[in-house]
């Protein structure tokens, strides 16, 4: 075992923390909550040694505020929480969308609503991740299904947030967050790290919210002579509140455009045995693992099943789902909620194939047996 390429047994939450450090995160503000606490614990030990900052805040509202402040000062910043804390962060997540502040929010899903089931898994926050903060806004939400993915998708989350100047939500669930698996840590030079584009013009020429072909304006860190106004109010290109319809419309449309014109970069999914699948299971997070086992067992029984695993949950991967719907007679969406992604699948499917659902909300992971039973029932 060389020092360069280390194989370790690591927990999902620890891999998130390692991914954050590898991506260049040097600021964490949060409030501990099961099942996300290990992310904070791990970073509280590691960050100070790297010259970074760890702050345990008084609550999740303040945590999100601190993360935004750190990012505006030019530091890659994150927080981690679970359902109840995620609810409290929503207002400031909206602020980060409006003011275009890159940051990463990890939400380890547990049973809800309210305090719910602190130590049991669920997937109930998928729609909240999309629409939890008010107002029309785009958002990018990723979902990890393994320990290596916890690492790689955290790196990816930081890269996307820096590239598109937007908050990124990384969804885990209790199973993935607390699971331990082997992971080979890639050497730092093999990782692709993206840092936000900063202005090349002197401070007096800087226009903080100027439109650009990419839709993403260069971002100046506070403290280096660039002075500009940051507000949650809808603003003009200089950052000051505006009431002019010819400024409001283009601003909101730019927020959407910077995401929508880059779908191929943002969308991530994996397929398994879908080439000739009569039934395609569409799953994400821990359930994707049960689904994969179910597909293997279905194939052993001669049933043509396949799997589409979504790693980008929002913006919804329309093209991947459409392809699955066109190829299969049936699409099955198992979820640990009463049907959140299945609604999107039905919308995108638009009657092309049959959409079946499998919903489990008892605090336990959907088993391969349950999915296999549904596959068998649907195909017979």
């Amino acid at each position: 075992m060389g020092a360069e390429r280390r194989e370790l047994l690591m927990q999902g939450n620890e891999a998130v923390a390692e991914g954050a450090l590898a991506a260049g995160c040097r600021f964490f503000a949060g409030y501990p909550i099961t099942p996300s606490t290990e992310i904070a614990e791990y970073l509280s030990v590691k960050l100070p040694h790297l010259g970074g900052t760890f702050i345990q805040m008084e609550d999740e509202l303040a945590s999100m505020g601190a993360v935004i402040g750190a990012s505006l000062a030019g530091v890659k910043a994150m927080t981690a929480t679970s359902g109840p804390g995620f609810s409290l962060m929503q207002e400031n997540i909206g602020f980060a969308c409006e003011a275009e502040v890159p940051c990463v929010v990890v939400n380890v899903m547990r049973g809800g609503p309210s305090t719910g089931l602190p130590t049991f898994p669920a997937q109930g926050d998928v729609m909240q991740a999309r629409w939890g903060t008010h107002g029309d806004h785009p958002i990018i939400v990723l979902s990890a299904a393994s320990v290596p993915e916890c690492f790689s998708l955290t790196v990816r989350a930081f890269n996307l947030s820096e590239r598109y100047r937007t908050p990124i939500i990384l969804l885990l669930d209790e199973v993935v967050a607390h699971m331990r698996e082997k992971i080979t840590m890639p050497p730092a030079e093999e990782l692709e790290i993206f840092n936000r584009v900063t202005p090349t013009v002197p401070p007096e020429w800087y226009i903080p919210y100027a439109d650009t072909p990419s839709g993403v304006p260069p971002m100046a860190p506070f403290g280096e002579g660039y002075r500009y106004h940051v507000t949650g109010l809808t603003h003009d290109i200089r950052g000051f509140p505006t009431a002019r319809d010819d400024e409001i419309g283009p601003f909101i449309k730019r927020l959407f455009r910077k995401i929508s014109q880059n779908f191929p970069d943002i969308h991530m999914s994996q397929t398994f045995r879908t080439e000739d699948a009569e039934i395609t299971v569409i799953a994400y997070g821990c359930v994707a693992r049960s689904a994969k086992r179910a597909v293997v067992e279905a194939r052993d029984r001669g049933l043509k099943a396949g799997l589409l695993k979504l790693m980008t949950v929002w913006p919804f991967d329309r093209s991947a789902v459409e392809q699955a719907a066109r190829r299969s007679k049936v699409v099955l969406v198992p979820e640990m909620n009463m049907g959140q992604i299945s609604r999107e699948v039905k919308r995108v499917n638009n009657g092309v194939s049959t959409v079946e659902t499998l919903n489990k909300v008892d605090g336990t992971l959907i088993t391969p047996g349950e999915i296999l039973e549904k596959i068998t029932e649907v195909l017979s």
Binding site: L8, T34, F120, V175, R180, K182, S290
Partner: protein, 197 residues
């Protein structure tokens, strides 16, 4: 087609079941080079309540991370023995801490008074989990005692390495003894057949 071996370590919160799950997974994953996934399930309490830690081992990549039919069940209290025994595979191994488990559902169970031994031989009941770990090395061929020892040293608090190593080897020798006693006796397991209905 590869194999899949599933271990469930169960008892009450505070007995150190998650820790031995981690050590076991590390020993099998990093030192024996197998694919492993370790998961856990526990209540919101810091101590008490039901707690379990599970390790799935395979020679190929593991998709579903939880056990489907358990090959080896450790029960460190009566409640967990009662609750999880039906999930044991036919012919699977049941290891009980006979300090706490009095009603044993199978004649083929390996009974070791883990906590009592830890108290009497090592003066610390809390290392009963490590005694169990040593016993497990004797009950499955998938992990070697030296791998466990290497993993253990890195995962227990500094200054407790010696007592934990002694606990590990105590568990191994007690399991050897228990298995020897069981050998030769024709054990017909009625209970397994009954529960199969």
């Amino acid at each position: 087609m590869g194999y899949r071996y599933e271990i469930r370590l169960s008892g009450s919160g505070g007995q150190g079941l998650i820790l031995i799950g981690i050590i076991l997974a590390e020993a099998m994953g990093l030192y024996e080079g197998l694919h492993v996934v370790q998961t856990q399930s526990y209540g919101p309490e810091a101590r008490g309540g039901a707690s379990k830690s599970e390790v799935v081992v395979s020679d190929e990549e593991i998709d579903y991370p939880k056990p489907q039919k358990v090959d080896l069940l450790l029960a460190m209290n009566q409640a967990s023995c009662d609750l999880y025994f039906p999930d044991l595979k036919e012919g699977g191994t049941l290891l009980v801490d006979s300090t706490f488990v009095n009603q044993i559902p199978s004649l083929r169970a390996v009974r070791i008074p883990l906590t009592k031994l830890a108290r009497e031989h090592l003066g610390r009941g809390m290392v009963a989990n490590i005694v169990a770990l040593g016993a497990i090395s004797e009950l499955t061929e998938l992990v070697n005692i030296t791998s466990l020892e290497s993993a253990l040293v890195g995962r227990v608090p500094k200054g407790t390495e010696e007592i934990n190593k002694r606990a590990l080897y105590l568990g191994k020798s007690e399991a050897e003894k228990a298995l020897k006693e069981m050998q030769g006796k024709e054990i017909v397991d009625y209970t397994l057949e009954e529960t199969a209905v």
